[in-house]
Amino acid sequence: MDNVVVLMEGITKSFPGVQALSEGYFELRSGEVHALLGENGAGKSTLMKVLTGIYPKDSGRILYKGQAVEIPTPKAAQDLGISIIHQELNLMPHLTVAQNIFIGREPRSGLRFVLDEQQINEQTRQLFDMMHLQLDPRDKVGDLTVAKQQMVEIAKALSFNSEVLIMDEPTAPLTETEIEDLFRIIRQLREKGVAIVYISHRLEEIKQIADRVTVMRDGRYINTVGTRDVTIQQIISMMVGRTIYETAPEVPETADHETVLEVKHLNRGRSIKDVSFELKRGEILGVAGLMGAGRTEVARAIFGADPIDSGEIIVAGKKAPIKSPQDAVKHGIGYLSEDRKRFGAALGLDVETNIALSAFQKFLRFLGWVDSGKTRTTADHFVKALAIKTPSVRQKVRNLSGGNQQKVIIGKWLTANTDILIFDEPTRGIDVGAKSEIYKLLNELSSQGKSIIMISSELPEILRMSHRVLVMCEGRVTGELPIAEATQERIMHLATQRESYL
């Protein structure tokens, strides 16, 4: 086909420990809106970052208008006419709209180093007129709504005479009306022959705006189809594929156990909307959803790390006013962050100190003197019980592997006698062997009567570990499935259920 603008073939890209792309293929035509789909970690963003010069590719080739090209830097992509609008907008809030659009290539007046502010504003105004956009070039970007900021990014991309425009989850922060505006602009651009790559998790939206769909899975190209020719169901099955499961583990009957945690009508801004659920003793509740579904936000709210607008948290039948992590610990709730390095472990301290950290008062003697004999025996106990691989309890946690760091954090919460453990992506960045050890540990904990909330973006993990699955989308709980009824397809379906399409 002669209107192919971009052709990417056999693209591979690996990061330490992860093969992000093993067989990236993508064909983009001018004047089309092309949706790029896949689960979290399928390689969509990586592929687009390769195309825009943010990551160098390991191998493979890129043809731009039939010519083989190398795109080593973002600047090189820009010069070719390829622009990307990231999920986190790349704007300078303190600068005006026009200053943002022309950053790096400001028109100069007379003297070479003097800016021609008038020209900057004038050219921006022309750009906006062309887009039929009502926006003052002199407004400070920081004062604009997210939707308007996105328009500024689009205008900026167009000002480079971009022929390829990549949008990563553009509608995630937008309201319905704002989405309509965005679609109007996108259709206009398509008319003008711009090729648009549209990355989104919102399948209904893709049916609405995209002409073709490319699906990726596990860093591989799966298929490209015309949007009209497929149903959402078909797209979903392409995304999840057929995965071979190991034999399903015995799921203990926990339904008639007592309820240890009850969350009622939890609300926080736009990130948590009327979330309610229960957790039984000895249960592993899997929480599934796509990125930005609000799962971590709910966990942080229950743990008292973020304030809530309204709602109740009931622990063991009693209302628990949790205002801070200290309160949560007092009520026996522990949170294992997805970002172990930043929130979970004190990496510079040794295993012993980390294990004692959440419950130091247990080890204090007269005048705050730490009973180091007792911390030592406690640490030794958990190193043995959790099979933490460390030369000694004096080893700094930084020097342990990801899986063992995770175990140290688990040990810390067990020392603090927490009965409710919230695991946020417990196996992220952990290699396969260590994963199964963590799984074993989770099962042991639950059989000892600990209740576990496990947030995970990996569906196989959810299906393997959970006794029950809660699915979230855009801050709401969109469904709850007993494990016997949970399949990747059903979870995916619930995870993409946007409010407006219910």
Binding site: P74, K75, Q78, N90, L91, M92, P93, H94, L95, Q99, N100, I103, G104, R105, E106, R108, F113, V114, L115, E117, D136, R138, D139, K140, G142, D143, L144, T145, V146, A147, K148, K156, T175, T177, E178, R270
Partner: protein, 329 residues
């Protein structure tokens, strides 16, 4: 979320608000001190305030740039001293012409700034640490070069007139405003033009507002960062020339502590320590607040120690105001 944007002009910008507050504070200080002491509004005392502002003010102009980029420069005080000493050596020990000595002094300041910039941009060392290192390096070099003794400019009487002569006095007899003050105002005007009208100024704000966005927009952020630190060093060099000329000597032990007053001036004037915001006018007002306060307290016979306590407290209050503004914004 409603799609509404505050109409232009209804919204007082954060840093503008702080400027208005700072200007108000300056006026209040003037009123209070002039009511408290009849000596305060004397012409000579006002000249004294202006003169005291000049050196600190020039340093503050320079540091305003790095603070807007989201960085900091702790070395400006001792770099100033280094520049003064270098100027002294060139003029008095090598007996070279005064203009050449001034030029070498300015270049010494710029060179120190360039080194700061290189270390920060290329080696990715946090500005706080890099410039803390330069603080000591410059201090040590000043001592080494001077041979631990003050350098007096007795052989070059012209040098003293750079700061202490009066162009205005020559035009209007009796209106003897020292040149140091005029140099400060001139430097402020130039700094303001650089900050608001030139590419360097634009990228100064861009770096502080969102460095990654600037980088992805094709701005060579490292080069511009180095340029900004060099410019700050150049201003320190100018401050070094002015202070040496004013004291008619280069005092190698002087300098440390000046950086805090200069940073305070910038922050009081609305330059945000988290970057992206600031103005030269604000810094000028901030510098005047500090010197007016010091002067007024001295006139009221408040002991020197207590003056230091007051200025220290004011800096903390100014930074706190900055944080409060941003939390709301």
């Amino acid at each position: 979320m409603a799609v509404s944007v505050a109409p232009r002009g209804t919204l007082v910008r954060n840093d503008a608000l702080q400027r208005v507050l700072a200007f108000g504070a300056l006026i209040v200080l003037f009123v209070v001190f002039s009511l408290a002491s009849p000596n305060f509004l004397q012409f000579n005392n006002i000249v004294g305030i202006l003169l005291a502002t000049a050196v600190n003010g020039v340093l503050a102009l320079g540091v305003t740039f790095v603070i807007i980029t989201g960085g900091i420069d702790l070395s400006i005080g001792t770099v100033m001293t280094l520049a003064a000493v270098v100027t002294g050596v060139v003029i008095t020990r090598w007996n070279l012409p005064v203009p050449l000595g001034v030029l070498v002094g300015l270049l010494a300041g710029a060179a120190a700034g360039l080194v700061n910039g290189l270390i920060i941009a290329k080696l990715k060392i946090p500005p706080f640490i890099a410039t803390l290192g330069m603080l000591n390096v410059a201090k040590g070099l000043a001592l080494v070069i001077s041979g631990l003794t003050p350098i007096y400019f007795n052989n070059a009487p012209a040098f003293n007139t750079i700061a202490m002569g009066s162009v205005t006095g020559a035009i209007i007899p009796g209106f003897n405003i020292p040149n140091a003050v005029l140099l400060f105002f001139l430097a402020a005007i130039i700094a303001s033009l650089i900050l608001t009208k030139t590419v360097l100024g634009r990228y100064t704000f861009a770096l502080g507002s969102n460095e990654e966005a600037a980088r992805l927009s094709g701005v060579n952020v490292n080069a511009w960062k180095i340029a900004v630190y060099t410019l700050t060093g150049l201003f320190s060099g100018l401050a070094g020339v002015i202070i040496a000329s004013r004291l008619n000597s280069a005092q190698p032990a002087l300098g440390q502590g000046y950086e805090l007053d200069a940073i305070a001036a910038a922050v009081i004037g609305g330059t945000s320590l988290s970057g992206g915001e600031g103005s030269i006018l604000g810094t000028v007002i901030g510098a005047f607040i500090i010197s007016t306060l010091t002067n007024g307290l001295r006139i009221l016979s408040v002991p020197q120690e207590w003056q230091t306590v007051v200025t220290g407290a004011i800096v903390v209050v100014a930074v706190y105001l900055d944080i409060v503004r941003r939390r709301r914004g």
